[in-house]
């Protein structure tokens, strides 16, 4: 198993969505620490703090529709950061617009998941995400 458990940073303004994501991630057997931020500003402040940067890559679950800024902007900032760019980003949003998906991948998003309203599919997606997380090798920092 991963000797250095990765922290999951979830940036999601909808408390319900956050709870559903967390529940399903846990249900999938992933027990990494999940830090939840409801807006982009506080999330960025956390991610850009010196100790977090020193601790190495984190896994970011990013919602695109945030009250204070667009998730795409956060993605662009993260991928511009020398250290943070190694953190895998999973975009989780209601938008299934092709151009937006393309844009996220262009900016360096690793996975793009549309939140389906059909709960079974949603739960499956999250569980698969959990499996993905459990086998994912986050690159070690030097």
């Amino acid at each position: 198993m991963n000797p250095n458990p990765v922290t999951i940073v979830m940036i999601e303004d909808d408390a319900g969505h956050a709870r559903l994501i967390e529940k399903n991630v846990r249900r999938a057997g992933v027990c990494n620490e999940i830090k939840h931020f409801a807006d982009g500003t506080s999330a960025l402040a956390h991610l850009q703090a010196a100790d977090v940067r020193a601790a190495g890559p984190v896994l970011i679950l990013l919602d695109l529709n945030l009250p204070d800024m667009s998730g795409v902007d956060i993605l662009a900032k993260l991928k511009a950061d020398e250290k943070m760019r190694r953190s895998p980003v999973i975009v989780l949003t209601t938008t299934d617009d092709k151009t937006e998906i393309q844009r996220c991948y262009d900016l360096g998003a690793n996975v793009y998941i549309t939140k389906p309203v059909d709960y079974e599919n949603f739960a499956n997606a999250i569980r698969q995400l959990g499996l993905f997380l459990s086998v994912m090798q986050v690159p070690e920092t030097e």
Partner: protein, 500 residues
């Protein structure tokens, strides 16, 4: 506002210009009257001058008559004195001239009864004098000089001559008086002619001036109006461009709005669905727990708790699930249509017959024993994807709403009509009630027995697409007999860039 005002102004300028032509028309009428008067005066004047000349002629003839008679008398005396042919000839020419002049005078004065009477009176005297002279000449020629001289001595000739002189003098006096009158009249006519001509001349100058001024004003008005029109035209183009931009902006706004609304509606829906699922799982857990509890303590089993957990809770959760699922489909429909509006159309040549046949082929498995006939269709230059969706939807609808009591027949036909092509998808299905002909095109609205799956999106989507392609869609239908959907599309779709 300003442009409209000036437009009204230029219209009134035109009216004023037309009213300004009236003096000109009156001027031309006056000029015409002057012309007629001039012609009349010229004719009158000419006649009067002829009368004057006529009077002169009468006078000349009268004088000539007297002279000729005197010539005859003088020559006759010369002959008496010296004889010789020369006097005889002179006498005869004088006598002939006398008669000629007399006849001439009579002819000239036929218009004047008074003068005719005078001529009547003088004629026998002249004749008598001529007869007297002739008698004397006859005596002289036959060497009877004594008889001739006796005749002269009788003084009969002198008496006749005096009488003739007196009478011719009277005729001359009358003619002189007439000449006076006629000259005056002729002079007056000449003056009148001169006056009228001068008036006409000045009128011509005046009218020429008025015409020039009126023409100038009119031309200026036309030039001003044309300038204004040019400005208005430019303005209009600008305004059309402005409105088009406004419309495009409004359209984009609506699409963005639909997009945002549907997204924001989806977010809470994810929660409702998600937590309903959680509730469902919890209910199962509770049911299992209850079952376990009852097995251990059967006295806990009540009918009430069973109904609450097994029926009421399950029913409530079921309704929430189906409702949210439906809501999700509706939101997706709005999203789909709003996205369709934002898609850039790419016109290309489309073989409509092949397109319709493909659409029919795709639906074939649903059609059962129904026949779908695609007649040769006119091709189009338009957006292929939109056309596929339009005809796919229409054919699918036709198949979907066939009447089970008779074998389905669906015919796709098309004709060219001017700059447009008209396509018809006709079926012998269940038809649409007259009141629903417009309603079927509305979003989420359906008609007839609701025994087929669907959200009432297809035709709304089709109409939105047809409108985007610059066309129209109509339906003619009889309930229980069949429906015909007619799509009219421009033969060539202008590309998006070409519109702006």
């Amino acid at each position: 506002m300003a442009a409209q005002h000036s437009l009204a102004e230029s219209a009134s300028v035109g009216l004023l210009g037309r009213r300004g032509q009236w003096p000109l028309i009156i001027g031309f009428l006056v000029l015409m009257a002057v012309g007629i008067a001039t012609v009349w005066l010229v004719i009158t004047s000419r006649a009067q001058n002829q009368w004057v000349a006529h009077t002169f002629e009468v006078q000349t003839r009268t004088t000539s008559l007297l002279n000729a008679l005197q010539q005859a008398e003088t020559a006759q005396r010369g002959y008496l004195l010296v004889g010789g042919d020369i006097y005889a000839r002179t006498y005869r020419s004088g006598r002939d001239a006398t008669l000629r002049n007399l006849a001439e005078i009579r002819k000239l004065t036929t218009d004047n009864a008074e003068q005719q009477r005078r001529i009547d009176a003088v004629e026998p005297i002249v004749a008598a004098r001529l007869a007297d002279l002739e008698q004397i000449m006859t005596f002289a020629e036959s060497d009877r000089l004594i008889d001739a001289v006796a005749r002269v001595r009788s003084n009969e000739g002198k008496r006749l001559m005096d009488d003739v002189r007196r009478r011719l003098g009277a005729i001359l006096r009358v003619e002189a008086r007439l000449l006076d009158q006629r000259s005056t009249r002729a002079r007056n006519s000449a003056y009148a002619l001169l006056g009228v001509t001068l008036v006409g001349l000045s009128l011509i100058v005046l009218i020429a001036f008025l015409a020039y001024r009126s023409l100038r004003r009119y031309t200026q008005a036309i030039v001003a109006a044309s300038d204004e029109l040019k400005v208005l035209n430019t303005d209009l183009e600008g305004r059309v461009a402005e409105r088009t931009a406004d419309l495009t902006a409004a359209n984009e706004e609506i699409q963005r709005y639909a997009y945002i609304v549907s997204h924001d509606l989806r977010a809470p829906l994810v929660n409702i669905m998600g937590f309903t699922s959680e509730l469902k799982a919890v209910r199962s857990d509770i049911a299992a727990f209850r079952q376990a509890a009852i097995e251990k303590a059967p006295e806990l089993d009540t009918k009430e708790s069973r109904i609450l957990i097994e029926e009421d809770l399950a029913e409530a959760i079921g309704f929430i699930s189906t409702s949210t699922a439906k809501m999700d489909r509706l939101i997706n429909a709005i999203l789909k249509i709003s996205r369709e509006g934002g898609r850039v159309l790419t016109p290309e040549r489309v073989d409509m017959t092949a397109l319709a046949e493909n659409a029919a082929q795709a639906i074939h498995h649903q059609a059962g024993d129904a026949t779908i006939t695609v007649e040769p269709l006119p091709s189009l230059v338009s957006d292929r994807l939109a056309l596929e969706q339009i005809f796919g939807n229409l054919i699918e609808n036709a198949v979907k709403y066939l009447d089970a009591s008779r074998p389905g027949e669906i015919v796709v036909s098309g004709i060219e009509r001017g700059g447009v092509s008209e396509y018809a998808v006709a079926d012998n299905g269940r038809g649409i009630a007259p009141g629903d002909h417009e309603r079927v095109f509305d979003l989420f609205r359906r008609s007839g027995t609701q025994d087929r799956p669907g959200e009432g999106i297809g035709l709304a989507h089709v109409r939105a697409l047809v409108r985007r392609l610059g066309g129209t869609i109509t339906v003619t239908s009889e309930f229980g007999v069949g429906s015909t959907f007619t799509v009219t599309l421009p033969k060539t779709l202008l590309s998006e860039g070409g519109r702006g």
